[in-house]
């Protein structure tokens, strides 16, 4: 049993918590991180990173299948699932050790165990039910993240009905797969398994896939997925799951009609819910509401000195949002002047399906619904030299401007590597660009980024290559 006094105790070592801890250490605070499972959190160990490793495999597999197009003759590619998963785990493992190293380098004390508040300034650490330490803190940041949301009757069981976690470490390739939910998580798994050959059906309750994206992008994505052989049911609800010995039969309701569909495995991806339980919130003034801790724009809870960041504090559920919130919370604690609250409209979102989808800001519809007069630019991949050379001629870069001020309201992309491109627009938005600066920017040739330029030009009727 150890005790300690710290300027800051961070509960949770994910992308919100560990970044907050390092920033605090930079600001000369004494910092502790309490992590119950693995540094780097879900993102690094069971989310963003290992899925990117899996998706890279499916991408390479797809390229090999189309090697002939590139003038290469390659023998039949075969899939070794154990090796695919092992690579994914190794990638996560390497980064996990990296976070440990970073924390050590910054002299952050790491406590292995579950942290729980006992009053606003005390964090008790327990490992396997046994007390490990009692920490006194001047400030506490809660960053305990979130977990997959379960729906009544559709509870995951780890064998037949998976969450992201089981879906990431399959022992064998399921022949058929039902994915419930077509957000980023659902679609990425659907894309991975489909590309490797599984029969995949995606069921989405809303009228379109990737429902937070621009309608036009959603429609293009759906077309691309269906072309790859994915089956997509929108406006559909899974009413029940009947679990057999090695398969599941789902009752799906759509358009008032009910039908049954049998698949070997089901992935439940219907959103996440914050880990608000068992962290001692009730011993403070902080409140939880609908699965997340209530905070203001500075990540402050109702309890002075107690902060909540990342998934725990609500959407958007993105690692980079958590990190940024962590930095804001720490700088707030340090009393740094001139801080700005996080503007969630300037946070890009990326989905690494095939084709990739990336976006930032308002969709065309959202902008119009907000009463904005808009100018919309579009540029298709088919008009871009690099895209043709890559053999990736399908996709679209769409930009939405305020017609009055030229403010870049949103950008929406689908196609190869767009997840790497979107940041260009994010920088522009943070600097409060108008169309004029984007038009004046010289984009290197030949790159996919030229489409970002052309899309802006198109919004003002000036596109050159289309």
């Amino acid at each position: 049993m150890t005790d300690g006094k710290f300027d800051l105790v961070v509960v949770g070592g994910g992308p919100g918590g560990y970044v907050a801890a390092i920033r605090a250490a930079q600001l000369k605070m004494s910092v502790a991180v309490v992590e119950r499972e693995h540094l780097g959190g879900i993102c690094l160990n069971w989310g963003c990173i290992p899925t990117k490793a899996l998706l890279r495999t499916s991408e390479v597999y797809d390229l090999i299948k189309h090697a002939d197009q590139y003038g290469l003759t390659v023998g039949q590619a075969s899939i070794d699932f154990a090796k695919i998963v092992k690579r994914s785990r190794n990638v996560a493992g390497q980064l996990n050790r990296g976070v440990g190293f970073l924390l050590k380098k910054n002299k952050v004390t790491v406590f292995d165990g579950a942290g729980k508040l006992e009053g606003p300034r005390t964090v008790k650490v327990e490992k396997d039910g046994k007390p490990v330490a009692t920490l006194q803190a001047k400030n506490v940041i809660l960053a305990t993240g979130a977990r997959a949301r379960a729906l009544p009757g559709l509870e995951p069981d780890g064998k037949l009905v998976w969450t992201y976690k089981e879906a990431m470490v399959p022992t064998a390739m399921p022949k058929s797969l039902l994915v419930i939910g077509s957000g980023a998580i659902g679609i990425e798994f659907a894309s991975f398994y489909r590309t490797l050959g599984a029969e995949v059906t995606v069921v989405e309750v809303l009228p379109r896939v990737l429902p937070v994206e621009d309608e036009e992008i959603s429609a293009l994505a759906r077309k691309a997925f269906e072309k790859q052989g994915m089956k997509i049911m929108t406006g559909a609800t899974v009413k029940a799951l009947k679990r057999g010995s090695d398969s599941v039969t789902a009752t799906i309701e759509a358009d008032g009609k009910s039908q049954e569909l049998t698949a070997e495995r089901v992935i439940l991806a219907v959103g996440i819910t914050g880990n608000v339980e068992n962290i001692g919130l009730e011993t403070t003034k902080a409140k939880a509401e609908r699965g997340h801790v209530v905070v203001n724009q500075w990540a402050e809870t109702a309890e002075p000195g107690l902060y909540a960041i990342g998934d725990l504090a609500g959407p958007p559920w993105l690692a980079h949002k958590a990190s940024h919130e962590g930095v804001i919370a720490v700088e707030r604690i340090a009393g740094i002047k001139g801080l700005h609250p996080l503007n969630v409209r300037r946070i890009a979102g990326c989905t690494y399906c095939r084709p990739q989808v990336a976006s930032i800001g308002l969709t065309e519809k959202a902008a119009k619904d907000a009463g904005r007069k808009v100018r919309v630019g579009r540029f298709p991949f088919i008009g871009n030299g690099k895209a043709i050379a890559l053999g990736e001629p399908e996709g679209l870069v769409k930009t939405v401007f305020d017609a009055d001020t030229g403010e870049l309201l949103g950008a929406h992309m689908i196609g190869a590597e767009v997840t790497e491109l979107i940041q260009g627009y994010a920088v522009g938005m943070s600097l409060e660009t108008t169309e004029a600066e984007l038009m004046e920017t010289v984009f290197p040739h030949p790159t996919l980024s030229e489409m970002m330029h052309e899309s802006v030009l198109d919004a003002y009727g000036r596109a050159i290559h289309f």
Binding site: S182, G183, V205, L206, V212, A269, G271, Q297, P315
Partner: protein
């Protein structure tokens, strides 16, 4: 002797300007008040008027020249009987720079009659100027979007304080200046959507209005923001103390009646003196007697002004503004009265020019006409004093050991203790009281 026309300082932060246009050619006759040139700053183009009669002798700085330092000679005016030959070779060069701003004042002590053109007396500090942002220099840092929005809304970027990184002006600053509430960062949740639609996708947090009756929200105008910013600054930075005196004004009222009546009798072109006109003159004369109170605070020194420029608070729709009677100690009652009327009218019509409301060395706020007996005003920074004037009303007073009735006006002086100490403030207020109670002395 030739008269140098110099680049005027058109705003407190102006360090250089451009000569946009000459309205007079060399050899043209110039009358005081004629527009001789247009000077451009980053904020505005302003016409420069001649302060003297004469002939345009030499244009030193040609049209279109940018980056001309304030106080540099831009032209030379010949007085009657002078020829261009009288222009000394040396004048073509910029005259030695004006003493650094901190040592500024001294219009009277200027070595030669520089033509301050139409600009406000150069030394006067301009407290009414909006807060300056963006640190030193003339460049205003603003995002491209903020620039365009400001241009569309007709907002002067230089009048805003930037809230972005390093004081950069960003969109939300323009939104705030326009009085539109910055659209709350509505969160379009960007994450795995759910089969059952997540309830948190709904509206942003409820406005903190629970328990309040219904209300109308009046968005802040620029004026409201400036008032708020400056008065908070005053209360925060200036340690206020308050001195109150009762002034008996029966003699003043009698004199006022007589003077106003005299005018009627003679039917001349007019004045109608108000009690406030007497107050303004008394303030000016009392300041002249106690010059240490006619002062303002700067970080490095206390500035004691050589002229009494009285800022007078005038209520206007949705706010207030303080036009300035400059050099009030040298102006008679009628002059003050007429000038004040004209300024107040312009103020209510929203037509005051910056030089008419910026500056001032002391303020007067009079709420007597509303029946207010006495009050304490907030100092108008960076001035050192403000006089709050109550209503003149009949009150019992003790005269020669007996209760008598007198018309009494209570005046309270708010003083910035950094600038003016108690005794000096009291001395000023005493001098003021003496003048008000024995108004004939104002005529001396």
């Amino acid at each position: 002797m030739t008269i140098d026309i110099t680049m005027p300082a058109l705003s407190p932060t102006m360090t250089e300007g451009a000569v946009a246009k000459w309205h007079k050619k060399e050899g043209d006759a110039v009358k005081s008040g004629d527009v001789i040139a247009e000077v451009e700053t980053d904020k505005a183009t302003v016409e420069v008027e001649a302060a003297d009669d004469g002939v345009m002798g030499k244009i030193v700085v040609p049209e279109g020249t940018k980056g001309v330092k304030v106080n540099d000679v831009i032209a030379v005016l010949l007085e009657e009987g002078e020829s261009a030959d009288s222009i000394k070779a040396g004048t073509a060069k910029p005259v030695p720079k004006a003493p650094p701003a901190a040592a500024a004042p001294a219009p009277a002590a200027a070595p030669q009659p520089q033509a301050p053109a139409s600009a406000p007396a150069q030394p006067a500090p301009k407290p009414a100027a909006p807060p300056q942002a963006n640190g030193g220099g003339d460049r205003v840092f603003a995002s491209p979007l903020a620039r365009r929005m400001a241009e569309k809304a007709g907002i002067d970027l230089a009048s805003l304080k930037g809230s972005g990184p390093h004081g950069r002006i960003v969109k939300s600053d323009i939104d705030a200046a326009r009085g539109t509430a910055p659209a709350a960062a509505t969160s379009a949740p960007k994450a795995a959507p759910s089969q059952a639609i997540a309830p948190q996708a709904k509206a942003p947090a409820p406005a903190p209005t629970a328990g309040l009756p219904s209300f109308t929200e009046v968005p802040h105008t620029t004026m409201r923001k400036v008032i708020a910013q400056r008065l908070v600054q005053s209360k925060r930075d200036a340690p206020h103390f308050y001195l109150t005196m009762d002034c008996q004004i029966d003699k003043l009222l009698a004199l006022r009646k007589e003077l106003n009546g005299r005018k009627a009798a003679e039917g001349d072109h007019g004045y109608k003196l108000s009690v406030n006109d007497f107050v303004l003159r008394a303030v000016a004369l009392a300041m002249k007697k106690v010059p240490a109170a006619n002062a303002s605070w700067t970080e490095t020194s206390v500035r004691i002004f050589h002229s009494v420029d009285v800022s007078v608070a005038v209520a206007i729709p949705n706010g207030l503004i303080t036009p300035v009677i400059r050099g009030a100690e040298g102006k008679g009652l009628a002059e003050i009265s007429n000038e004040m009327k004209a300024l107040a009218e312009k103020a209510r019509a929203g037509k005051l020019t910056p030089e008419e409301y910026q500056g001032g060395t002391v303020s007067v706020s009079n709420l007597g006409m509303y029946g207010v007996r006495d009050f304490a005003a907030v100092i108008n920074p960076p001035q050192g004093c403000i006089l709050a004037v109550g209503a003149g009303e009949q009150r019992p007073v003790v005269k020669d050991g007996a209760v008598a009735i007198a018309t009494v006006m209570t005046c309270t002086l708010s003083v910035d203790h950094r600038v003016v100490d108690g005794a000096v403030g009291a001395e000023f207020l005493g001098a003021f009281k003496q003048l008000i109670e024995d108004p004939m002395t104002m005529l001396l």
